[in-house]
């Protein structure tokens, strides 16, 4: 599992995963079914972060999948990451998003933009799971329109001083390292820079915790930055390049959420399938409603189609080919599918779907159309590519 899959041997030949990836997939599924699935409902009910499970995931290498081998990572690449995230999210989307953010938003940015010293400092903590990563871009006034952010970073000689709250920070209350985007100039885009902020830096605080429809075991919090004074070498990339740093996460983040959505859709499909399998007559013939069977068939087809879309974008990214619009296609279709599938599960399971795994899937699924670029943003990306504008 420590060999680098990306860009060397084919990962996907004639619609079959390579043997290595097939084995990796089985391992992820086993972990998800034994360590996540049995507890996910309780974590959700108690709004409890699955810390121990995340540590177990770290020991299996799931927190180092996008990190280069020289910094302790496995560098398995994007396809492997998508495979892993589908499995984890089918069992527990809260754990899934924690790991996705850690890998695709935090570790991959450090790998791509960090200095050698920054990498030597932070990767050991990140790959081991000692520290989790968080990504602090959004603010109260800037969601889809990320460049509208107002959090300030003031150059104070030997230090940067960061000031202004960040909103909707996934894993914010549990993270050790924060990638913070702040304004170092007035230009809407070129006035943004990226910084590495530690949980222990004076002035860093945890603000309001969001009360959410779902994903309640994944804390989403406000990160308060009140005159946080950090050394100059905590700048990630160059001054004014923060927006480029942020853009660099887009494809990976979208593939992560596409895979999360795929996991949720598959879990909903499996719930429906298992429910309908119990409906048989004395001769073993299915007595399931045709309408429910048709819905199941539609979902099965869509899940396969969405998985192929997702894996295609991941393989392109592994091959260092442009994949922006294709990652958006995956995110767009998977997130819509997750919601449809989860709603269908509630409908088909009926009153027993109102209090059980189906309704949790429905609540968890809803965020996949919102974060990492809302649905209309994905459409914008795709339309631009198609229209060549």
């Amino acid at each position: 599992m420590t060999d680098t899959l990306a860009g060397t041997t084919p990962q996907f030949v004639d619609f079959q995963l390579s043997e290595t990836l097939t084995a990796f997939q089985a391992g992820c599924r086993e972990f998800a079914e034994s360590e996540l699935a049995p507890h996910a409902a309780a974590w959700e009910r108690n709004h409890e972060f699955p810390e121990e499970a995340i540590q177990k995931a770290a020991r299996l290498g799931y927190l180092r999948i996008t990190t280069p081998v020289e910094y302790g990572g496995t560098a398995l690449g994007n396809l492997a990451s998508c495979i892993m995230l589908e499995e984890l999210n089918a069992a527990c989307p809260a754990a899934g998003v924690t790991i996705s953010v850690h890998n695709s938003l935090c570790c991959s940015l450090l790998a791509n933009w960090g200095t050698e010293e920054q990498k030597r400092t932070y990767f050991p903590k990140l790959v081991s799971g000692e520290w989790l990563g968080a990504y602090c871009l959004s603010e109260a006034g800037s969601g889809s329109d990320a460049a509208a952010l107002v959090c300030r970073a003031r150059d104070d000689g030997d230090a940067w001083v960061l000031d202004g709250p960040k909103l909707w920070i996934t894993t914010g209350s549990e993270a050790g390292l924060f990638l913070v985007f702040a304004r170092t100039g007035e230009d809407r885009v070129k006035g943004i820079s990226a910084f590495l902020v530690e949980r222990g830096d004076p002035g860093v605080g945890i603000g309001k915790k969001e009360r959410k429809l779902g994903l309640t075991a994944s804390p989403t919090v406000e990160i308060l930055l009140e005159n946080v004074r950090i050394p100059k070498d905590r700048l990630l990339g160059e001054v004014g390049r923060g927006f480029n740093v942020a853009l660099d996460t887009l494809d990976g983040g979208r593939l992560g959420i596409a895979s999360q959505a795929l996991g949720i859709a598959r879990a909903a499909h499996d719930l429906i399938r298992d429910h309908l399998r119990t409906q048989v007559d004395a001769k073993g013939r299915s007595t399931a409603h045709q309408s429910a069977q048709w819905e199941l068939a539609d979902l099965a087809a869509d899940i396969d189609a969405c998985r192929l879309l997702t894996w295609r974008a991941a393989v392109l990214r592994d091959s260092k080919l442009p994949c922006g619009a294709k990652a958006s296609m995956a995110k767009l279709k998977c997130s819509q599918l997750a919601n449809r599938a989860a709603r269908a599960a509630v409908s088909i399971l009926g009153e027993s779907g109102l209090a059980g795994p189906a309704e949790k899937l429905m609540r968890d699924a809803r965020i996949t159309e919102i974060y990492e670029g809302a649905t209309d943003i994905q459409r914008l990306v795709i339309a631009r590519e198609v229209l060549g504008g």
């Binding site: 969601g143 429809l213 209090a355």
Partner: protein, 360 residues
């Protein structure tokens, strides 16, 4: 615009409910829902208005305002608080109208109309079986997610006795009632499972009389649910419109993005269609016609509208929509719950399909 067709009495019903919503129900809706706490204050306040009898004939102790009054009240409640609305629809609609006119139910009916007792209703879709037991009956069966059952003072059950229907009343103590506090929606309505294991019951009606009573209940249930859902759909559109008007992204209000405007228009279109259907169903029923088909169509339309409008409103809200403070996530959960309750949309379509040809 709609008030053009409401008379004075219905306008009074609307005003009364609006005031109650504003003063008592809406301010507490989020909190009760979030903590899955029964919204007793709403029920009591509704009882005080006397509206539990609005749709019941004057001869039976009601105000005689017909199903239209149920529609008017439920639409208002549905805008603000699904849980209170569902409780109201069960009490003033399903329960009151099934009981009204049954000689042996006069006492129960009075306790329902005054709100002295909260009435839970176990519909025929749960398949409860009755056996004659002396002058009463014993009931056996199981029903999930029964509105108000956790707080019920009385439980009315539509059961079957041999080949025929019976309408029975059970004391809550005779049933095993287990609150379901981990459910999707209507979290402040006291949902509970009801297990009847030979529970002693009084038979209120049997044969044709029970058949008619259960049909009245079904009609009122569908009309109430449709009106609640229509109200919810309008509320989701309104919340989305307000947010889109205020929220600036890419230098202009969200509302000026064509895609956002079209989402809201589509929500409004569906909500309006649902409203017209449920009003027509109520008008036909109040005029003495058979409105079962129209009510079922209204419910399907309204519930779809409500789920869709909430879903799109969440999307318009972006991340805010995923948090409880913006209310749309609650509409999303309540609307979907309404799709599943009372037998569910699939069974409703089956019934409509089997009667295709009687309508249009």
């Amino acid at each position: 615009m709609h008030n053009l067709t409401l008379g004075d009495e219905l306008s009074m019903v609307q005003d009364t409910v609006r005031k109650l919503v504003q003063d008592v129900i809406e301010p507490a809706a989020l909190e009760h829902d979030e903590h899955r706490r029964f919204h007793a204050g709403a029920f009591e306040a509704l009882a005080e208005t006397g509206l539990f009898g609005a749709a019941v004939a004057e001869d039976d102790g009601g105000a005689g305002l017909g199903l239209l009054s149920l529609v008017v009240a439920c639409e208002e409640l549905g805008r603000a608080c699904g849980s209170s609305g569902r409780l109201f629809a069960t009490q003033a609609g399903t329960a009151a109208l099934s009981l009204a006119g049954l000689a042996s139910a006069a006492e129960v009916l009075e306790s329902v109309l005054t709100g002295e007792k909260l009435c839970a209703f176990v519909g025929p879709e749960h398949g409860v079986c009755a056996e004659v037991d002396g002058s009463g009956a014993k009931l056996s069966g199981f029903a999930r997610y029964v509105t108000g059952a956790a707080e019920a003072g009385v439980v009315v059950v539509a059961a079957s006795l041999g080949d025929g229907p019976v309408l029975c009343v059970v004391e809550p103590a005779a049933a095993e009632i287990a609150p379901q506090d981990q459910g999707l929606g209507f979290r402040a309505s006291g949902p509970a499972s009801v297990t009847l294991d030979g529970a002693a019951a009084q038979i209120l009606a049997s044969g044709d009389e029970a058949h008619a009573a259960i049909a009245r209940a079904a009609l009122a249930t569908d009309v109430g649910a449709a009106a609640l859902a229509a109200g919810s759909a309008f509320a989701s559109v309104d919340l989305g419109r307000r947010h889109a008007g205020e929220r600036i992204a890419f230098g202009k209000p969200l509302a000026r993005q064509q895609a956002v405007g079209h989402k809201l228009v589509e929500g409004m279109r569906r909500a309006e269609a649902a409203r017209q259907l449920v009003y027509q169903a109520a008008r036909v029923a109040d005029g003495g016609g058979d409105a079962a088909r129209l009510a079922a169509l209204a419910r399907l339309t309204a519930v779809d509208a409500a789920v869709h409008a909430a879903d799109e409103s969440i999307q318009v809200h972006g991340g805010f929509g995923y948090t409880v403070e913006y209310h749309v996530e609650r509409h999303y959960r309540d609307a979907k719950t309404l799709e599943v309750l009372d037998g569910g949309a699939c069974a409703a379509r089956d019934v409509l399909a089997s009667s295709l040809g009687s309508g249009a």
